[in-house]
Amino acid sequence: MKTKGKVLREGVHRIKESGVFDIRSEALPTWCPGCGYFGIHQGLNNCIQKLGLAHHKVVIVSGIGCAGRSLFFTRTYGLHTVHGRTLPVATGVKTANPELTVFAVGGDGDGLAIGGGHLPHVARRNVNVNYLLFDNSIYGLTKGQPSPSSPVGMKSKASPSGTIDKPLNATLLALTYGASFVARLFAGDPDSICRALIEGVQHPGFSIFHIYTSCVTFDKEFKTWANLKKWVHPLPQDHDPSNLRQAFDRVLDDEFSVGIIYKRTDIDK
């Protein structure tokens, strides 16, 4: 038998002793069962726990959308701000009290549509904010409209004959805006999210995590779990995160390689 009672009990006991879930809220997350955000939520929680950050010294700033709800499910300080203004608000919080570890959380609508104007400036200022961009290429909370990262031809109630605009590539934008730490991850692998976040938090400047995830309720064709699992693959072994030009080439050639894309090491802030 693969898991005897003993093996399962020890596994559960280890988790219980580790207190890795102390950071969760009491109430169950209100995301749809099967949503990719659970994986990201898991990765973020494990990162905070593994780094041993004092919960009262962590602030999560989130925008409007399903992603924005994650701060209600994590026992840290939270600021659920208005749609699209996650990064400016996070900048305010971090600048006010650099002691705090600040996570900015938002979806692809919040970050690339209404909030698109703020990303270049936070990157340019290199504010030490860790920005998790949940990219499921759809507006979930308003029930299924296409988002800036939806592919051409995506059909929805708001685009019955398929979208016509070319999608934005958040990773490419981040590199272009000069972000000093860019990672691309996949919601189905919480451990790699946790590892990348740990590196990001320890990185002295702005770090952005472009995380592919799936909306099980409204996206039945494009970023389904099945497709993502097929498309996503780790960066090749020989990838050198400190080489910006290589990072650009890699991101331009392949949209679905995941890992630490670029990390500038020569900054001291």
Binding site: M1, K2, T3, K4, G5, K6, L8, R9, G11, V12, H13, I15, K16, F21, D22, R24, S25, E26, A27, L28, P29, W31, P33, G34, C35, G36, F38, G39, Q42, F73, R75, A187, G188, P190, S214, V216, W225, K229
Partner: protein, 596 residues
């Protein structure tokens, strides 16, 4: 041998290793798991692999289904008709909100009816051990022991007192429940591997046990129970009183006694019901079964009670016989009313007679079928107060070396399936004692599997009822006509579709689970739980799950396999494919005579 139905590839006898990493384990935790999770197999005294043989029938490989039964139960065709079906009481499909249990026994019969009649079976035959064994009694226990000993390589001789083998099956069960030709063909298939059968020899009188001990390396007493237990009440010696087993044997041998118009049967087992139904097939017009406790306490199957009542048998409860009335011929039975007491550990109900509630129930004849005892046989070895040889329940040994006992002779009247199981176990013990080698062992076999083609709507197929002879009157035309007609082949398939296949084990790998609760959302019942802790017994088997709805305390999402109906919905939706299916069966493995 059609290779499509080659003897089950991974069956116990041939112990060849197979692909997709099969693991055998004898860890007590795994035995505990299959005991809880495959309730039907666990309830069967012979541990028949129920889900597998039902699956084979669904796949229309009747032969393989029949053979899977035959490994642990020599007479599938017989048991498919007269088994007491302990498995169906425990079937998961019979849980309160899930409907009626699967017709496991009827499916066993469909396998026997549907198989290729001239199918030949190949048991795994060991090389001769150079030893001889004498089995006394050709009842179900004796036959099973003889067959297994012979297949392990012993030269076996059966000594049967009556003139035909089968014991209770041949003489104790009327033909309308068990046709003779089914019994004959299955007994011959058991004996064909070299067992010599000598009938008409009464051990203890025609030949002594001591002689047998001298001539054979081991002697097994499996003579069952034919000595009717007396009521031990005044008037029991009047004419018109018959013992149940004798009555059935007389009818079986074609010379039934005169019963008169109204018959009272005293007893609560299958024999009592057979006698009451037989009485109505003879010349009796009224036939009543009087039991001490209540109808709920009867150990016969629900179908048996319903069929008996439909044929006109009355069941009168809470009655304790005091005296039988009549000058030289019985005219009535004096009963006293009883009050039900508590249920004893062995499941029997204690009753308390109510003083002053005596009354007489007039009748023309009385059949006493309150069970039988084993007949004392002159033999060396320690005996109980009734002079019957005592056998150890684990090793089956008597106090005399090489003298063994098994079946109803040792345990007193039980069920046919328990006797067959007893016969197989004693054969194992004899083989180990005589050769010092271990030939077989039970193991839990785990194999990676995928969800089957079962559809969720199959869980709502109503239970198929066994067609019987109607209108009722036609059942009395002749005493041999079998009442149950057996499933049409399509009905058998439909019934087999109802089985959840509980040997499938669903499990979440908690290291890669992202706690997204999609599986819980699609689960048809409370079978997947958010768990704070897992409780195991000292053997390490899961005995409890501490549930929680507080998100901070949800340490794992666990499939509670004792609630899971194997519908496979969770696997379809798991985003990170962390739910695995494996086939976890209790099987018997041959050991090529490993030294133990």
């Amino acid at each position: 041998m059609k290779n499509k139905d080659r003897y089950p590839p991974d069956n116990s006898i041939s112990s060849k290793k197979t692909t997709n990493n099969v693991v055998y384990s004898t860890d007590p935790a795994d035995f505990f798991y299959v005991g809880v999770n495959i309730p039907c197999q666990n309830a069967c005294p012979a541990y028949t692999n129920v889900p597998e043989y039902i699956r084979c029938l669904y796949e229309r490989s009747y032969d393989r289904s029949y053979q899977l039964n035959r490994i642990v139960n020599l007479l599938p065709g017989v048991l498919g008709r007269i088994c007491s079906r302990p498995c169906e009481n425990k079937c998961r499909h019979g849980e309160p909100e899930l409907g009626k249990p699967v017709g496991i026994c009827h499916i066993k019969r469909s396998a026997a009816d549907g198989k290729d009649p001239d199918q030949s079976y190949t048991e795994y035959l060991f090389p001769p051990q150079g030893k001889t064994v004498c089995v006394v009694g050709a009842g179900p226990a004796g036959l099973a022991a003889a067959h297994d000993l012979s297949s392990i390589g012993f030269a076996v001789t059966i000594m049967e007192a009556l003139d035909e083998p089968g014991g209770m099956l041949r003489y104790g069960i009327p033909e309308f429940r068990l046709p003779r030709e089914i019994l004959k063909s299955e007994i011959s298939s058991a004996l064909r591997i070299g067992v010599t059968l000598k009938t008409g020899i009464k051990v203890g009188t025609d030949v002594s046990v001591q002689n047998l001990l001298d001539d054979y390396d081991a002697v097994l007493i499996a003579t069952g129970c034919y000595v009717p237990r007396p009521l031990a009440i005044p008037g029991e010696d009047l004419a018109g009183i018959h013992s149940g087993i004798k009555f059935v044997m007389q009818v079986a041998s074609g010379s039934p006694p005169r019963l008169g118009r109204s018959v009272v049967v005293i007893g609560a087992g299958f024999t009592a019901f057979d006698c009451a139904r037989l009485a109505l097939r003879l010349e009796a017009e009224e036939s009543a079964i009087c039991i001490r406790a209540t109808e709920q306490d009867l150990r016969v199957t629900k179908d048996e009670i319903l069929e008996a009542k439909r044929e006109g048998v009355k069941v009168k409860a809470l009655l304790l016989p005091q005296r039988i009335i009549g000058n030289e011929k019985v005219e009535g039975v004096e009963f006293v009313r009883t009050r039900p007491g508590e249920v004893l550990p062995n499941g029997r109900r204690r009753v308390v007679p109510i003083e002053g509630s005596e009354f007489v129930l007039p009748c023309d004849s009385v059949i006493v079928a309150i069970g039988q005892g084993s007949e004392p046989i002159a033999s060396p070895g320690e005996k109980d107060e009734r002079g019957v040889l005592i056998g150890d329940r684990i090793t089956y040994r008597s106090s005399v070396p090489n003298l063994y006992v098994t079946g109803d002779f040792m345990t007193g009247p039980t069920t046919v399936i328990e006797c067959i199981a007893g016969g197989r176990r004693v054969a194992e013990k004899i083989a180990e004692d005589l050769t010092g080698k271990k030939f077989r062992e039970w193991a839990v076999r785990t194999e990676e599997a995928t969800t089957t083609d079962r559809e969720r709507s199959w869980d709502f197929i109503p239970r198929r009822e066994m067609p019987t002879i109607t209108p009722i009157e036609n059942r009395f035309n002749s005493i041999e006509t079998e009442v149950e007609l057996g499933f049409e082949s399509e009905e058998g398939i439909k019934e087999s579709q109802r089985c959840y296949l509980c040997y499938l084990h669903y499990e979440i790998d908690i290291t890669s689970c992202i706690y997204c609760r999609y599986c819980i959302d699609v689960a048809p019942r409370d079978c997947i739980k958010m768990v704070n802790e897992v409780i195991t017994n000292e053997a390490g088997a899961i005995t409890g799950l501490v549930e929680t709805s507080n998100w901070r305390e949800v340490n794992a999402v666990v499939i509670d396999n004792s609630r899971c109906i194997r519908c496979g919905e969770c696997i379809k939706v798991c985003p990170v494919d962390c739910i695995s299916v494996s086939k976890v069966e209790l099987v018997e493995r041959t050991l090529q005579g490993r030294r133990n």
